[in-house]
Each structure stands twice: as C-alpha cells, then as structure tokens.
Symmetry: C2
Subunit: 200 residues, 2 copies
C-alpha cells in the first residue's frame, strides 16, 4: 500500500452496484493491505434522478478529511456520470469507463483513459449484475494501486456466499482484460517508439 493519499470516484446509475464496488476497494486497502480507507456516499437530488456515486480515499495513515475534491482515478459506468465528473479529474489522473455505455466526446488532456466492456463481460458469465465486480478487477489491473490478491479477498468478503464463485470469476475476468490491455498498449508503445527512433 502506497503511503500517499489516493482519491477515487466511482459513478454510474442505480442498480449497477457502484457502492459495493467502492466498498470492495476500500476494504481491500484497509483490511487486507494494512492501510486506511474511507468510502463516502452522497444522497441528494442527483440520487433522485437514479444516479449513484461513491468516493473512496486510500491512505497509509488515518484519514481526517474523507471528501474527494479532485479524484486521481474516476470510474464511470454511465454517460451522465462521465459528463458530470470527468471535469473534476486530477491532471495526470486515470479515467476508467464502461466503454459501451460511455462515449468520450472531449478527450481530456493529460488523462489516461482505459475502457472495458464490463456489462458484456458480465453477461458472458451469465449475470449482468456482476459488471461492478468486473470493473473492480479492471480497476485493479490498470491502476496498480492495490494488490490483486487483496482486492480479490475483499470481493470474497463482500458478496453473498451463494454468488462467491461468480463474483470471483467476474473479478478475474476484469483483471485479466485490464492486464492484457496494458500489455498491448506497452507493445504498441514500444513499436511507436521504434518507429519514431527509425524516423529520427
């Protein structure tokens, strides 16, 4: 666990399991990785519209002010969530999207964007409702903020026993998708570098 404070916002619409995804990330940091975390959920007019969002802070020390102002990582599972929260992302931050639900119109500068078809991957497992855990796995792979094993144990600790296997498979599917994406990007990066070196 990094000592530095990291702020994460997860947003989507009601029923996508935003809060559980946030709680899993917080739990992984604190219970299984020896750090501290807070998860804050705000209820207000926007919740009446059916949208849902949660904030997670990860830290190596107790957290005195548990409010995210500029997230380092933003995970969005709906277009509305993207439109609302993308402008708040910290420069150099990471934007993670449910790529079939979010259309990125204005690409923010200085932000790394990674998309995953989480709903489709969840449907391949037979249960669309585990898309949030697919997102958690993908988040784990592309941010590298938390150990894979800590996240996986936090998933196991947060879901009903009857759906444990399904959720662990969802987590692995999301994580593997993210790892393979990073691998492809790195190969591509190397290739581009090779080309630019050749043309120099």
């Amino acid at each position: 666990m990094q000592r530095m404070l990291r702020e994460i916002r997860i947003a989507g619409y009601g029923g996508q399991g935003v809060i559980l995804a946030a709680a899993v990330i917080g739990k992984a940091a604190a219970i299984f990785q020896g750090g501290y975390a807070t998860m804050t959920q705000a209820f207000g007019p926007e919740a009446r519209g059916g949208s849902s969002s949660a904030q997670v802070i990860l830290s190596g020390e107790p957290i005195l002010y548990p409010y995210v102002t500029q997230p380092d990582v933003l995970v969005v599972m709906s277009q509305e969530a993207y439109t609302r929260f993308a402008p708040q992302l910290k420069p150099g931050g990471i934007l993670i999207t449910e790529q079939e639900l979010v259309n990125i119109d204005k690409m923010p500068t200085g932000i790394r964007v990674h998309g995953v078809p989480a709903t489709r991957l969840a449907e391949e497992l037979g249960r669309k409702m585990v898309l949030n855990i697919v997102m958690v796995g993908f988040f784990g792979a592309v941010t590298n903020l938390l150990d894979r094993d800590a996240l996986r144990r936090a998933v196991a600790d947060s879901v009903p026993p009857a759906s444990l296997d399904l959720n662990l498979r969802a987590f692995d599917k999301g994580f593997d998708y993210g790892s393979q994406l990073l691998l492809r990007l790195s190969e591509q990066g190397d290739a581009e570098e090779a080309v630019s070196l050749e043309s120099a």
Copy 2:
C-alpha cells in the same frame, strides 16, 4: 426534514448490517424527504477486528464536510461499539442500544438512552439478520428526525425484492416498539410529575 445538520453514528460488529442501516437513513432523508445526506464508512485497523461503523449526516443543504465528530444520535449494536463511541456523543444527544447486547456501565449525563431488543424482535420474525432494519424502525420512532413513510420507502428501496415483506415487517416492528416505549415514558413522566407535585 429539518434544516439543521444532524450527525448520526451507527456501530456494531460485522454481519449486523450496520452499513445498510446507515444507507437506509441517508436515502430516506435525501431521496424521499427532499434533503441531503452523506454516509461515510471508514475501513482501518478496527475493521480488521470485525467491528463495523458508519456515519450519516442529514441536512437541509448540500454537505461540504461529511465527517461526524460529535454525533447527535449514536446507535450501538455491540458492547465494543458502545465503549468506543459513547464518549463522543453530543451533550443532549440520543443513545440507542441493542439492549441485550449492550450493557450501559456509566450512564452519560445529559444523554437520553433508549434500548430495543432488536435481535430478539428480528428472531420473532424468523430471521435474525433483519435486526438492523428493526433498529432503523426504532431509530425512526425515538428520534423523530425523519418521516416514518420516508424511512419505510427507503427500506423498500434498499433490500432485495425477495426479502421485501420481511424487511418491512422488521421496520414496523422496530418503529412500533419505539412508539410504545415513548408513550410509556410519557405516561410515566406525567405520573412522576403528578407525584412530585403531590409531594411538593
């Protein structure tokens, strides 16, 4: 919904449904009663010990600092939670206990204490696991911070459809227990007052 900020802490051990109880209260205030609320859960060393706690802030306006320092209302479902959080209660605050799990050793001065055998009432409904919703009902009756109907709708909105009826019955059972308790206390208060007037 009162305009004033109200801070609530709910604490117990893992598996008692502390977080869901907190989320129901926040949701009732914001979604069904036109106010604002935040729910914050901290993960840290204490969570590793199996205890669970959540903070809820209710307000008539957007909440800028979602951290409870001195709760107006403290709901405790374990002895450890009582020992840890009771000293933080605001003077004039309300302490709500699961009375068969919490033994009040030092009665705080200036604090109203109300106990409910939530686990036993839940068991009477056939499912011990709804003790948290019994507590929410009882909280509603003895604090009078939120409308009964808003709380009840928030319960309905927060539990799986398969256990909806059970949870609504748990809510009603807790609420009715609290209403009857207040009624008895008020009759007793009148009686005591009559006695003291007589002896004066």
